[in-house]
């Protein structure tokens, strides 16, 4: 034994201040390693900044909209020919007639203010007003038939191209080539803006209004989609988190380790790799055709997304449960806690950060998912708001990602801006959803 002591490599005693070459190398490696970490985080953040700035850059415009303010004489001769003020009769007047009314009103007003350029046809003037405006005016009148015969001050959305002009999307040059707008119209719009008849205003309709058709991008909003997404997320959250955590607790803590549980384990891992659209196929077959639930409804969407999210919650939750040191379990079992108590009192709180991370990521994905909704009829044009829950779960609804998806496919470039705006809304939605989880996660985090 003593002989071996002399075998110890006798070392010279270098100064602590002078770092020896090997340590220098190791420190360099350390620095590099750390740098890789910084670079990795930096890369991620950079990507985030690039993506977000492109989204913000093209999407913020959606929250402001050009609005024309005009005086509209509600001509009784047009709106109520018989003069009976019978709602049924008034309802017979279609939006086409209202459109004409608006066009005439604007032309008259512009003529009066001497803004109308010579040679501009009333049709071109009418073309500057959104096609949504007649419907709004009609609803106004139907709600209050007494207005007929009076002149009302009416805020109408401007046509998407006019709006685009003030947001820089449409220019005089592009208007020359554009078959949907003319430079004269743009000049007129500028003149109107100078005269205070037209203004860029915050646009609540973008958040609250329902989708609109291709002809009126300026009126398209996210109201139905936000409700639909909220309903679905409610279902997903309420179902997938408890079920996912319960399943992972069973698999990690209770299940006997045998072939069958191996099967479940592989199976769950595999479910995570199933393309989301296949869950749509499943949803169509199981919930709509077999279960008889209604098409396009948020309940089916929520259920499908729940199934899709489950494995994505179970896998991280299991990893988190596994990482709790056994000594903690021993300690609890040793004072006579039951297994269930041990898990719920000690293991679960310690595993909570990992579980919440899984939930954050799983729900983020569910919130942004479109493909499975394709097959269950939620990728749709829905204009009526779903009712309040629980009945509303069964009404047709859209979802924010669906709205983004369909807006990016539309021909009018104004929808690109709206799609980016919708992405902003989606991200805000996501941040609101996540922030709670993030706060909770920080509360549970500790080292031992």
């Amino acid at each position: 034994m003593t002989a071996e002591a002399t075998n110890m490599p006798a070392k010279a005693r270098p100064s602590l201040y002078a770092i020896d070459p090997r340590t220098k190398r190791r420190n360099a490696a350390e620095k590099r390693f750390r740098l890789y970490g910084v670079a990795a985080v930096g890369f991620g953040l950079l990507a985030l900044v690039v993506l977000l700035s492109s989204v913000l850059g093209s999407g913020l415009g959606a929250f402001r909209q050009s609005v024309l303010t005009m005086q509209v004489p509600l001509d009784a001769a047009v709106l109520d020919k018989e003069g009976t003020r019978d709602p049924a009769a008034i309802a017979k007047v279609t939006t086409i007639a209202y459109g004409k009314l608006l066009q005439d009103a604007l032309t008259a007003e512009l003529t009066e203010k001497a803004l109308l350029p010579a040679g501009m046809k009333p049709k071109d003037v009418g073309g500057m007003i959104s096609k949504e405006a007649p419907a709004q005016l009609r609803n106004l009148v139907l709600a209050n038939p007494d207005l007929i015969g009076t002149t009302v001050s009416f805020d109408a959305l401007a046509n998407g191209r006019i709006d685009g002009f003030f947001k820089g999307r449409v220019t005089m040059e592009s208007a020359k080539l554009d078959s949907n707008v003319s430079p004269e119209q743009l000049e007129l719009a500028q003149a109107m803006r100078d005269a205070g008849l037209l203004a860029l205003k915050f646009n609540p309709g973008f958040i609250f209004a329902p989708d609109a058709s291709e002809l009126r991008p300026e009126a398209a909003g996210l109201g139905v989609a936000i409700l639909g997404s909220a309903y679905m997320m409610l279902i997903v959250l309420v179902l997938s988190l408890p079920i996912g955590v319960a399943a992972s607790i069973y698999l990690e803590e209770f299940a006997p380790k045998n072939r069958f549980t191996d099967l479940i384990e592989v199976n769950i891992a595999n479910l995570a790799a199933v393309p989301s659209i296949v869950f749509g196929i499943l949803g169509l077959a199981a919930f709509i055709n077999f279960g008889g639930l209604p098409q396009s409804s948020s309940v089916v969407g929520g259920l499908v997304l729940t199934l899709m999210t489950l494995p994505r919650i179970i896998i991280p939750a299991r990893a988190a449960l596994k990482s709790v040191p056994p000594s903690i379990k021993d300690a609890a079992l040793g004072v006579g806690a039951s297994k269930t108590q041990t898990i719920f009192h000690h293991v679960l709180p310690l595993a909570m950060p990992g579980i919440l991370t899984g939930a954050i990521i799983g729900l983020a994905q569910a919130l942004g998912e479109t493909a499975p909704l394709l097959l269950i009829g939620m990728v749709a044009f829905v204009r009526d708001y779903p009712a309040a829950p629980p009945e509303g779960f069964f009404d047709p609804a859209s979802a924010i990602p669906v709205q983004i998806y369909s807006w990016t496919q539309r021909a009018d470039p104004a929808f690109t801006e709206r799609a980016s705006g919708a992405i902003i809304v989606l991200l805000v939605f996501l941040l609101v959803m996540n922030s709670l989880a993030v706060v909770l996660r920080r509360k549970f985090e500790r080292r031992w």
Partner: protein
Amino acid sequence: RDQIQSAGSSTVLPYATIVAEAFGENFSFPTPVVESGGSGAGRKKLCEGVGENTIDIANSSSRIKQSDIDTCKANGVNEIMEVRFGYDGIVFASDINGKEFAFTPADIYGAIGANVAKDGKVVANTAKTWADVKADFPAQDILMFIPGTKHGTREVFDTKVIEAGCKATGAYDLFLAAAEGDDKAKEKAAVAQCNTLRTDGTSVDIDGDYTETLSRIDANKNAIGVFGLSFYQNNTDKLRVATMDGVMPSVETIAKGEYPVSRPLYFYVKKAHIGVVPGLQEYIDFFVSDDMAGPNGPLAAYGLVPDPELAKTQEMVKNDVAMGPLN
């Protein structure tokens, strides 16, 4: 269920939404729900059966197929109404700053057909630039974004452009001569040969939609893309359209039948649901009314080529005439 539900082609989708929106505004019925998801899926959904949780209308950018009708029958959907409400024009366009092109089908085939006729022989297509195809074209690299095979547009592109071009260049006859079997098999083989396109990256299938094609043209300025007329009309400031056989594509030229590449658009109504789903009859009447689908209606304004025989369709819809067997 109170609202009408329809599903199907994404080409028909914009028209259907425009009508649905107007319908919802002017009638006391709820706004119909219009799903996209493809003509095939739409027709499949239509044929799933009758009842509340099946759809009422399938939008389709191509005519229904016998197999769909069979499925329908098997599931108890015996009567469907076929409604053709207009035409969709298909145009070729490049970036707004790109060169001007005046195509014929033969040029397109000569550019992206896998095998072309050269001096009476079939040779592999090696053209690199458009100048290789036709001398008076600019020497710009050939790059075409064509609709993917999932799209109905591709069918039209294949028959009206590629096959036409194949025949025009004489390649078809050479293929036919080289093919074996009886006449029918020969023809089939020749057509298949015509439809075989280059895979070296000169022709790129687009499985997405026209916005994707537009973005790709944005990223590849010297590419030529295939678009729907309505899409082009909304983006005239970004795209420079090419003529085909010397004709400029427009609603008028297509309606007159001068511009060769177009296709009819349909929707199919489940007759059993008429009278059951509130507003269904009103909706289809409204859809084909002159206010909507007529030459001055919003659909035409958006780019639909109105059906010259619209009056006939209106009559048919009014009387709920179910479609006969496919011819």
